[in-house]
């Protein structure tokens, strides 16, 4: 489904990703772990097409098509979803209006029916339950005045509505209390399916005991330095990244 080959990406003049290789098949969950500043969000943003993250070498195919040639909205319509580490505020724009615009843009590009207000209302009323929120939550302005936990729930809600093929979740667990962590994890699990793949970026083993990954990759200084099964998380939890960072030299971006 997703094939990343020798991906290099820069922010400004600084090279952050220095040759990332990754292959994700349909239905798989890949966790990505790594120290602060190692390039996890850079990878996520480069895949989603943020203009500040310039790909300087390498290739990415998504569903057999060149991903990097597409503008961000086209990538989204093709089924790529990014749950942001720091979701953006859009003052005055209701979350449900925002999501309807998104879903209809996606549907339209596929020649599917665009949902009118009533149909979408029924859909959103169902989907807010995935993140254990009520309908009123979706009437608030996008991320405006949301708590950290509400932002993360909102991201998962958006994923539940858009039903992407590939979801890149950038630290969906950061800043969550135990109950919220359970809700968000269950929300993610609800979307797991043989057709849907997940790239789950996290610092903590905790979420991985809910959302059990098929693979874990360790990224240090812009490169994947080790890949393994779910047991790798326990090892990191116990030992940290010291042995990798020493081998890799200075952290990315410095």
């Amino acid at each position: 489904m997703l094939e990343i080959k020798n991906l290099h990406a820069s922010v400004g003049d600084v090279e952050i990703l220095k040759g990332v290789n990754l292959s994700v098949n349909a239905g798989e969950v890949h966790a990505i772990m790594g120290p602060n500043g190692s390039g996890k969000s850079t990878l996520a943003n480069a895949l989603a097409g943020h203009a500040n993250y310039k790909v300087t070498a390498g290739s990415v195919t998504f569903d057999g098509k060149d991903l990097l040639a597409q503008p961000p909205e086209q990538r989204a319509r093709a089924g790529l979803f990014l749950s942001f580490q720091n979701p953006i505020e859009i003052p005055g724009v209701r979350l449900d209006h925002f999501l309807r615009a998104g879903l209809n843009a996606v549907n339209k590009s596929k020649g599917l029916e665009e949902l009118d207000v009533l149909k979408f209302d029924r859909l959103i009323a169902k989907k807010v339950k995935v993140v254990e929120m009520d309908r009123a939550f979706a009437r608030r302005a996008v991320n405006e005045g949301f708590s950290g936990g509400e932002r993360k729930r909102s991201e998962i809600l958006q994923m539940a509505v858009l039903e992407p093929k590939l979801a890149i979740l950038d630290e969906p667990d950061s800043g969550l209390d135990v109950d919220a962590l359970r809700v968000v994890s269950e929300g993610i699990n609800e979307l797991r399916s043989p057709e849907r793949s997940l790239l789950l970026i996290t610092h903590y083993q905790r979420i991985l005991s809910y959302v059990v990954p098929d693979f874990i990759h360790i990224i240090v200084n812009g490169r994947f330095v080790r890949s393994g099964g779910k047991e790798l998380a326990l090892e990191i939890e116990a030992e940290g990244y010291d042995k990798y960072t020493e081998a890799a030299g200075a952290p990315a971006g410095e």
């Binding site: 989603a48 961000p72 953006i88 859009i90 724009v93 925002f98 843009a105 996606v106």
Partner: protein
């Protein structure tokens, strides 16, 4: 803002490139401004002597100002001097375009984008077809319906004939002919406009709109509106969707006066979309309008909501004089400027009565080379105990060649007054646009979404259909300004 195109087009006929106007036959005065012209207009409208006298006093005042070169110079707008002797002050078409085929396709395209129905398009374009006559007759039935409740709603000229005492009592009582340069000019030469009277205790059951006026009255570019809400009455008045025009710079100097008696409320909403000029800043309307309301009675309320997207230059300060105790004044505004547009707009709240309150929410959006200025004044007079004002002026910039300016003036002569002022300037951020894109939303739609969010507080004050129209209008106007 429903001045019919023909008047202006007549004046601009020589430069006019689109052909469908020039062959319209019109009855008009020669260019120029003098007593004869004013007398001719007044006679044409079969006005009573007192009104002619009033016009003539206004004319003399205007000519004195002109002679002393006392043109308003404080606004943050620039334009070449206007030669007032070049303007034609009265022109009424003898016939109208016969079908939509004779109307500028670009105008029709804009209507289509705005989602205005074909019948409405015909109405707006002033086409003499059945649909129009249908609408007019609709308007007439409607008028009869309103009349049963004692509501008077119609053209200014009709009001002068049918209700001279009301007109005489209130005309110029809020905006005297000496008020300012353009108000004087308007008083001398105004050709038509709307008149509305809501009697005691009546809540007007529908929004009154100026759509009906367009064809029926064929008003000039100097229209005059007078709305009176008597004790315990309410009216919501909409100043209609305006037609874009294809002209040389053209002056539009309207006057609107509102009066609320005890416990009465007037809610006045405007969508202004005059032709702004072309991409190089050529042509477009000079929109110099004086709008003011007076809360005469206790507990009365006047609320202005405006969405200003058109005109080459807008110079407009809908204001409220809070005379009655406990009266309330509100001003909610969205002003969008792009290309070479200039807008200097805002409000004036004058607190005279006790416990008077005012709220000002101004949202300015600038794109491309445009300049957008908020100019507001809050004045608290010595007897206005416990006056309150809240002012918020937000500016949104698109691109880095445009400008936003905020110029608040405050004059407080009573120590018990409480005033709050907030202002901030922001940009549509890359991150916001990317966030939208990541959900599948195109760049243009993303920008429209962000801007709509910015305007929400103001749009939420508009009647629903007007809000929808305002939203579409912003989208249409912002097409191609991304980045």
């Amino acid at each position: 803002m429903t001045t019919s195109n023909e008047v202006v087009q007549q004046a601009a006929a020589q430069e006019y490139k689109y052909g469908f106007i020039t062959d319209i036959e019109a009855e008009s005065t020669p260019p120029g401004l003098n007593e004869d012209i004013v007398r001719w207009i007044s006679a044409k409208k079969e006005e009573p002597e007192w009104l002619l006298e009033w016009r003539l006093r206004a004319l003399r005042h205007f000519l004195t100002l002109l002679e002393k070169e006392q043109l308003p110079a404080w606004a943050n707008v620039s334009y070449p001097p206007i030669n007032f002797q070049d303007i034609i002050y009265y022109s009424a078409p003898k016939s109208r375009p016969e079908s939509l085929e004779e109307v500028d396709p670009e105008i029709l395209e804009t209507y289509r984008k705005l989602g205005i129905s074909l019948d409405e398009q015909k109405l707006l374009a002033g086409v003499a077809v059945d649909a129009v006559f249908d609408s007019v007759s609709v308007a007439t039935t409607f008028k009869t319906e309103l009349a049963k409740q004692g509501i008077i709603f119609g053209s200014f000229s009709d009001a002068v004939r049918e209700h001279p005492d009301l007109v005489r009592k209130y005309l110029g009582s809020v905006v005297p002919y000496t008020d300012n340069f353009y108000a004087s000019l308007n008083a001398a030469v105004f050709t038509d406009g709307s008149f509305c009277y809501i009697p005691k205790g009546v809540r007007c059951p529908v929004d009154l709109t100026t759509y009906f006026r367009i064809n029926a009255a064929g008003t000039g570019q100097f229209e005059r509106t007078l709305i009176i809400a008597d004790d315990d009455s309410y009216v919501s008045y909409l100043e209609g969707c305006s037609a874009p025009m294809r002209d040389e710079n053209q002056l539009h100097a309207a006057v609107v006066e509102l009066v609320t008696e005890e416990n009465a409320e007037i809610k006045y909403s405007t969508i202004q979309n005059w032709y702004p000029g072309d991409a190089n800043g050529k042509g477009g309307i000079y929109n110099f309008v004086t709008k003011r309301g007076r809360c005469e009675g206790r507990n009365s309320k006047i609320s202005w909501t405006q969405v200003e997207t058109g005109s080459a230059i807008t110079w407009k300060y809908p204001s409220v004089i809070l005379k009655g105790d406990n009266s309330i004044g509100e001003f909610y505004s969205v002003a969008l400027t792009k290309g070479h547009q200039q807008a200097d707009t805002g409000t004036k709240m004058v607190h005279i009565g006790k416990n008077t309150r005012s709220t000002i929410i101004s949202k300015g959006i600038s794109a491309e080379h445009a300049e957008n200025t908020y100019r507001g004044q809050v004045k608290v007079m010595p007897n206005a105990d416990n006056a309150r004002n809240i002012t918020r002026c937000d500016s949104l910039l698109i691109g880095d060649q445009c400008g936003a300016h905020t110029t608040p003036y405050v004059e407080v002569r009573n120590n018990s007054a409480k005033l709050e002022h907030e202002a901030y300037t922001s940009r549509v951020s890359e991150d916001q646009l990317f966030y939208c894109n990541q959900r599948g939303i195109s760049l243009e739609d993303a920008q429209a979404l962000v801007i709509n969010g910015f305007c929400k507080e103001v749009f939420s004050k508009l009647p629903f259909e007007f809000a929808v129209e305002a939203t579409r209008l912003l989208e249409v106007n912002l097409e191609g300004t991304v980045g």
